[in-house]
Amino acid sequence: MGGELLRENFQLQGRNFDKAGEISSEIKVILKELGIAAACLRRAVIVAFEAEMNVVMYADRGTVTLVLTDKAINLEVKDEGPGIPDIDLAMQEGYSTASDEMREMGFGFGMGLSNMKKNSDEFCIESEVGKGTSVFARILLDSHA
């Protein structure tokens, strides 16, 4: 998928709700400064934000890696968390295991994973219960210009 132009790593802290969204904001700033087309930028930021929220809500810690090539924005998210027992179920719109407390804070409406998939051109997710989850999303640069 073209030559790698840029790679940035970010650390995520689980259950740190007041800082939630900071990493996706940083990713947004980087992509915006690079003049990425508006529609791609929007999709990438939504994917990054949902991924970040999932880690913050469920995991102990995680990482986001942004890899930019001439052709695509790639986001790799890995966490150390409870894992997802049934991925097909979790991918359904509206399915959520968020606690009442999380919902009261405005999170966990069960749109996260499906929203990430909807906003990516390639999407894959792997999970092992008790260990963690990893997500890969690719947003093509020219497909939504």
Partner: protein, 438 residues
């Protein structure tokens, strides 16, 4: 793209290079090199923050003066609701309207009707909108420019409805050319504006169409003349013969240039004022939040248009006047309601052209080069003091690093990296004792 015009100019002769404008600019669009401020036009969103802070009074709004209107045969004032909040508690909109006529306008437009029309168009649009949410109001030109420059991914959230002042301009031309047998270009539709941003949006609309209005006169420009006439015995004004036009200001939903949207549900409609707060909310929207909000009404000036930088009265006093006018607002007469209904059925309120992200100078190089520049800028930033002292002429070390990486300036402009720079600054800023210091 045509050359970008802006709502103010920097008078280089007056500029003392004191950097107040550079430090206050929310989009970091100003640099001060060799003791003189200059603008990066692509970054400027016409918010006017620089206008008020210049200690040398070197920055002025490019509105037009009344004298420039003489070339028109018939001059119509379309007055922002903010105008009526600028005078004493007992000065009614009718009095202010009279003063405008005495000032040389041939008519004062009943602008409340256009505001009401756009109100309805917006309410309809919000109800039928398939997404993305939230929709964002377009009446404040600074907000549109902010989105073009800093939030390009939110362009689709801008409500595709024309602003009331343009709807008014169109109807002014149509009505009076019909009634008076004049050509539309012989009729001037002049907006009485609370800010220079609306003046620039008339000169160069963001959606790249042509404005129906012929210019904007700042409230501060006519304030003294209007006040003088209000304090004279108003019964003796020659304009008293034109009673039919008198009450044009009575029916505004005061303060909000786009009305109050009584038909939108409270919890899904959010009014926002002040650039700092708006930027915070926009950051949230860009992360895909706030999708349960249907409509954001945004005004860059704190307190809305009553706080515009070409207003004269203190915002809070203006607001109290505003509340008084609202409390006294009469029930609209049936003729008003009928006229609104008639026009709503027959006019098109959609925004005429699409708003596009503003193309930046950096778009001319390819992505690979842009990534290289970013890496260079990061490298350069590591060698800078991160004090944001501004002595290099850029508002922050990061801006200086970006400027150097794009070869717009020399890294040695940083005083921490070059002794010669201090000597040079000393020369530029060494002046005789001055009469006044801000």
């Amino acid at each position: 793209m045509p050359e970008l015009k802006h709502g103010f100019k920097i008078d280089t002769a007056k500029c003392d290079g004191r950097m107040h404008c550079m430090r206050t600019c929310p989009t970091h669009a100003i640099r001060v090199k060799n003791g003189k401020a200059h603008l990066i036009p692509e970054l400027c969103i016409d918010c006017g923050s620089c206008l008020g802070v210049c200690p040398s009074k070197a920055i002025s709004a490019t509105t037009i003066s009344l004298a420039e209107l003489d070339r028109f045969k018939f001059k119509v004032a379309v007055a922002s609701p903010a105008l009526y909040t600028q005078f004493g508690l007992n000065d009614t909109p009718a009095h202010v309207g009279r003063a405008l006529l005495d000032l040389g306008f041939d008519a004062v437009w009943e602008y409340a009707a256009d505001i009401e029309l756009v109100d309805r168009a917006i309410t309809d649009c919000v109800k039928k909108w398939p997404g993305p949410f939230p929709l964002i109001s377009d009446s404040c030109p600074v907000i549109i420019r902010l989105i073009q420059v800093a939030y390009p991914s939110m362009i689709e959230n801008i409500i595709p409805i024309e602003v009331p002042r343009e709807i008014a301009g169109r109807e002014v031309k149509r009505r009076f050319s019909q009634e008076l047998g004049l050509r539309p270009e012989e009729i001037a539709a002049i907006y009485i504006t609370p800010c220079q941003a609306k003046s620039i949006s008339i000169l160069q609309p963001a959606e790249e169409s042509k404005s129906y209005l012929d210019g904007a006169v700042g409230i501060s420009e006519i304030y003294n003349d209007v006040l003088y006439r209000l304090r004279k015995d108003t019964r003796k004004l020659k304009s008293d013969t034109q009673e039919g036009l008198m009450d044009s200001g009575e029916l505004f939903h005061w303060g909000n240039p786009e009305g109050e949207f009584p038909n939108l549900s409270r919890e899904h409609y959010l009014p926002l004022t002040g650039l700092t707060d708006i930027i915070k909310v926009f950051n949230d929207i860009e992360r895909g939040r706030l999708t349960n909000i249907e409509f954001l009404e945004c005004h860059a000036c704190r307190g809305g248009c009553n706080g515009g930088n070409l207003t004269v009265e203190n915002l809070y006093v203006a607001r109290s006047k505003d509340l008084r006018l609202k409390a006294k607002m009469p029930q609209p007469p049936p003729e008003f309601e009928n006229e609104v209904a008639r026009r709503y059925a027959s006019e098109d309120f959609s925004l005429r052209g699409p708003v596009k992200p503003r193309s930046m100078a950096k778009d001319v190089v390819d992505l690979r080069e842009r990534v290289m520049r970013r890496k260079r800028a990061e490298e350069i930033l590591r060698g800078l003091p991160l004090l944001n002292c501004g002595l290099c002429g850029a508002p922050s070390c990061k801006d200086h690093a970006d400027d150097v990486a794009s070869a717009r300036t020399e890294i040695s402009d940083c005083v921490f990296l070059s002794k010669a720079r201090i000597d040079q600054l000393r020369k530029v800023y060494k002046k005789g004792p001055r009469a006044s210091r801000g």
